[in-house]
């Protein structure tokens, strides 16, 4: 195996993970050093991601860089860095002992490396392994507090995603089976580039079956209804910073895998068309989450359900298909990552300040902490589809594309968006407006100089990025994403 540049992005965090696992994590002031190393590694990854953006695209052994994955790598690196910064400011309040602190930091970087690998891999087997590693690392992060609720959530996560990942492997094997008569045995049979090229000559039946397994398998990880059961529990537990990467990156990586599969299967006209399946999963997720959102009392669960909703929307867009809808789907994934992690930063900071993550306990945030509160309000408004953020652009484009091809689907889509939007703004008002609830800050949270700025600056940064991506994306990035959309088909 030759070591290519993309592998560096993977191995840098993994190396960091080893260092972090070995570093002593003391209490108090000394505990900041590993957190700072964590930030450093994340920052270095961002630099590397930018370097890779500048390199020539193409396949390099088991990895490939193309228009489809590089935007995700870049956004992933940005979110990784902001999450590390947020974690730097709040990790003291998580009250880890030495072992747990090591596990937490190491798992974070392992996760980051694995999600880069999942995005960058050309070989579907490698991709599977990467997603599995990301799963294991995130399970560890969810369970790291070791409370009954955390263990229970982690267990559910484990079992459901374990099954999912197993099914995805079966699907991968089936893909190879389909490709083997055409490309012969060996590595090319699992190479995405090779598979896309020959898909039209493969056996359509096997391709269809493979897609079903990949969809159910990776769809479980992407939190699509009815495979979503683990997501709200997992998001509600674990240290506060990890929500941003769970919702922002893990779900994307899984949906990205579905996209790769769709590109292969969609290339064969005789295979089961992936569109209707994706549309069905997307709409089901959207509608289920939209109604479930009305009953939420826990802020993190609320945002988790909203992730289900948005993954459903992106899936729906890919299901509609065509360059416009696929572009909408890609933008939706990117925008959702940015905005949802922003919302999680704000909710996380609020949970630290108020000592609870119940919506009823976090009230009047805009009064007590205006910078944070209004950022949260904007982020949730963005999640409800209001402009000027990326989600507005993507929802607009997907609706326009739907109207062009399947106008009757606008009815459930609009219903879901309306119900979900209503629930989100209702919750947003409860969280942000009105009389502030009393502060019961966790000891050690935001004790650094700058205090809450550690949470509000990443939140605002994400919001600004999401707005810029929608309205003022550089022509190069826009062209890149358009190419990516064409690859999805």
């Amino acid at each position: 195996m030759e070591l290519h540049l993309p592998w560096l992005i993977v191995f840098l965090p993994w190396g960091g993970a080893v260092v972090l696992a070995l570093m002593p994590h003391g209490d108090g002031q000394r505990g900041r050093l590993p957190a700072a190393v964590n930030v450093g590694v994340a920052a270095a990854s961002l630099v590397l991601a930018l370097v890779v953006m500048g390199e020539e695209f193409g396949q390099q052994g088991w990895t490939r860089t193309d228009a489809l994955n590089l935007p995700f790598v870049l956004v992933g690196a940005v979110i990784g860095l902001t999450t590390a910064c947020f974690s730097f400011a709040t990790v003291a309040a998580e009250r880890f002992d030495d072992l747990r602190a090591r596990a937490y930091h190491a798992a974070f970087q392992v996760f980051m490396g694995a999600q880069y690998l999942a995005l960058l891999s050309d070989n579907l087997g490698v991709m599977w392994v990467a997603i599995e590693i990301a799963t294991l690392a995130s399970v560890l992060m969810v369970a790291v507090h070791g409370t009954a609720a955390a263990v229970e959530a982690a267990w559910k996560f484990f079992i459901l995603c374990g099954v999912g990942i197993a099914l995805a492997l079966f699907g991968t094997i089936l893909l190879y089976l389909a490709a083997q008569p055409v490309v012969g045995t060996g590595d090319p049979g699992l190479s995405w580039g090779a598979l896309v090229a020959v898909a039209s000559r493969c056996d359509p039946g096997v391709l269809s079956l493979a897609f079903v397994f990949l969809l159910v398998g990776y769809g479980t990880k992407a939190g699509l209804a009815p495979l979503h059961s683990w997501l709200p529990d997992a998001e509600a537990e674990g240290p506060l910073p990890i929500n941003a990467v769970l919702s922002g990156l893990l779900l994307n990586a899984a949906l990205f895998a579905v996209l790769r599969a769709k590109a292969i299967v969609g290339a064969h006209p005789g295979a089961l068309p992936p569109g209707p399946l994706l549309v069905a999963f997307g709409l089901l997720s959207l509608l289920l989450a939209a109604f479930a959102l009305w009953r939420r009392r826990d802020a993190r669960r609320l945002l988790a359900w909203s992730s289900i909703e948005h993954m459903g929307l992106a899936t729906f867009a890919f299901g509609i298909g065509g360059p416009a809808a696929s572009l909408a789907g890609l933008l939706h994934m990117l925008g959702h990552s940015l905005v949802k992690s922003a919302a999680f930063f704000a909710v996380g900071a609020a949970a630290h300040l108020k000592g609870s993550q119940k919506i009823a306990d976090i009230g009047g945030l805009a009064t007590s902490h205006p910078g944070l509160g209004w950022a949260l309000a904007l982020a949730m408004a963005a999640l409800a589809g209001l402009p000027p953020f990326t989600l507005f652009l993507s929802e607009f484009s997907m609706v326009v594309a739907t109207a062009a091809s399947q106008p009757w689907l606008l009815l459930p889509l609009g219903l879901g968006l309306l119900v979900a939007g209503g629930a989100l703004v209702t919750a947003m008002q409860r969280l942000c407006l009105g009389e502030p609830t009393p502060d019961r800050p966790a000891e050690g949270a935001f004790a650094l100089p700058g205090g809450l700025l550690w949470a509000s600056i990443p939140t605002w940064l994400h919001l600004v990025l999401a707005a810029l991506l929608a309205l003022a994306a550089p022509a190069g990035l826009a062209a890149l994403l358009r190419d990516g959309a064409r690859m999805v088909g």
Partner: protein
Amino acid sequence: MLTALSLTLALLVVLAVVPVLAAQMPAGGRRLPVGMIVHGGALLAALVFAACGLGALLGGPVAPRPLMPGSFAPLLLALDGLSAWFLMLLGLVGACSALFALSHANQAPVRVLAAYPLFLAAMALTLLAADGFTLLLGFEAMSLASWVLVAADHDQGENRSAARLYLVFAILSGICLVPAIGLLAAPGGDVSFAAIRAMPPEGPRAAVILLLVMVGAGAKAGLVPLHAWLPIAYPAAPSHVTALMSGAMTKVAVYLLARLLLDLCGPAQPIWWGVPLLVMGAASAVIGSLRANVEEDGKTLLACSSVENVGLIVIGLGLACAFRGADLGALAGLAAGAALLHILNHGLFKTLLFLGMGEVQVGAASRRLDRLGGLIQGMPWTAAAMLVGVGAAASLPPLSGFASEWLLLQALLSAWRVGDLGFQVLALGVAALAALSAALATAAMVRLFGLVFLGRPRTPRAAGAEDGPWPARVALLLPAGLTVLFGLLPGPMLALAEGALQRLVRQDVTERATLAGVVVGDGAGAYLPIGIAALLAVLGAGIWYAVRRRTPAGVARSPAWDGGFMAPPQHLVCGDPVTQPSAAGFGQPLRQILGTPLLAAHARVAMPPPGDPAPARIEAGFADPSDALVLAPVARLRDAISAQVERLRDLTLAQCLMLPFGTLVALLALIAWLEAR
């Protein structure tokens, strides 16, 4: 011109950032006159908008140009007659609102200072848009920015629920309008207006678009039955914002209606396209004006009057649709002209009224009619300006409100020419309702002015009220002056709207709009406001001269006669408030006559026992039908479905596993079935 406008938009965005940054600065930033900067900048921007609007109306349209070439959405901007007409209104209203804010809102919280210029910018963006995305971007950004302003005083529960309802309705608007744009879009997904115009929708597709736009834009414009948010959201916002919302924002929603239904859907739509507009317009006109007669909060009353006026405007647009469908081009021009003129006139006089009410709130510390009274003594400027506004809102000649309503009634009186008996009957009913609502509005405005400015002060605060500083007075006098001016010059204003009318109905009105007034049909009717005004002036002066020659000069002052009622006790400096007409009492006849069937109104007189000197009190209430018939069932349905969905939460792990397992088996069965076929 587009460059200037783009720069103005940028200026507004920068202005929004200023208060945020200033608030972050330690002590130094606090001393910055942030409010002055923001509102001064907003004033400047509004003047640019008005000038550009007027310029484009006089100088012809400006072709589309992308604001952000290369990004995902190019943000096409253009300025045609229709946009320019609304932009001019936005500029005028914005200028008044900013002037008022310069006097009264400089100490507003950061959220208000930051959202205000964004609100202005978003409205301008909506009007300037030349593609569907930019249109909705501006429209929804406008909703979001104004939500912040509605939620400005969010420590009060009712303001919060108002803000929530407001935002939910804004989302509803978006969710109806985006698919409408989608259905309008050209086959390639091109949403630019030029592409849509080249290929207007037809048949059922067009009908769905009509429905979606009616709900989407109607919800924002406050059309019955989607108006529930409006009477509670307007009072929640600061007064200068309410003026902007009522004067400009509802008009932006009407702009969407006009742009999407009349311009982009093309002229080849059937007659019945006007029907939903007529029905919703008439319902809004009546419900709005009736509610204005029973509301007891000054701003709520004005908000309800906005519902009424938007209803009248929409009736005009609906008639234009129908006339166009029946190939009655001249009449379509008349109806659309009436709508456009009323848009401008209502925008200005309603701005005046809301700003005046804001001045009252500042001066007398209340908006409740039952806590005001006699303000004409302490606030003569405000009272005089408000009298003009009230007169226009009551559609009295020769003020602006009458001019546009006259045109509208003329259009309604000609509606029978469409020929279809069903439509004739509908138009007949709509005409009756329009006249009813105009008369109800007159009653409501008399009630407003009479209870607020006339009579005796009902509270000590009302007794001590004073006029605002000069910028605020100018903010009232400017729209008052324009209301008089536009009232006298409907002809030239209609000629100015030429470009807009071309867009809406592809019709000319020049020959019917003269300097002296407006003539409809071939001499079917003429309104020459300058003549009327001159006649009134001459006769009034004559009467004055004749009377004064024969009567002793001056007047004698004495306590009010009041039918011989006893004088109030000494300790009641302002007289006994309970012997004055109350808000509920004044509205009682209409509440009983029309409110009982239409608003489920109820009233009960609480009589004190015999011998008790306590006054009798009337306890009255009503419920808007939209709450009981629209909002409540929807909320119940939503809760029922959520409760069902929530049962998924009770699943055990094994049952959770069952879901993917079941999905997988079902999909496998599907594949097996497909293979077997």
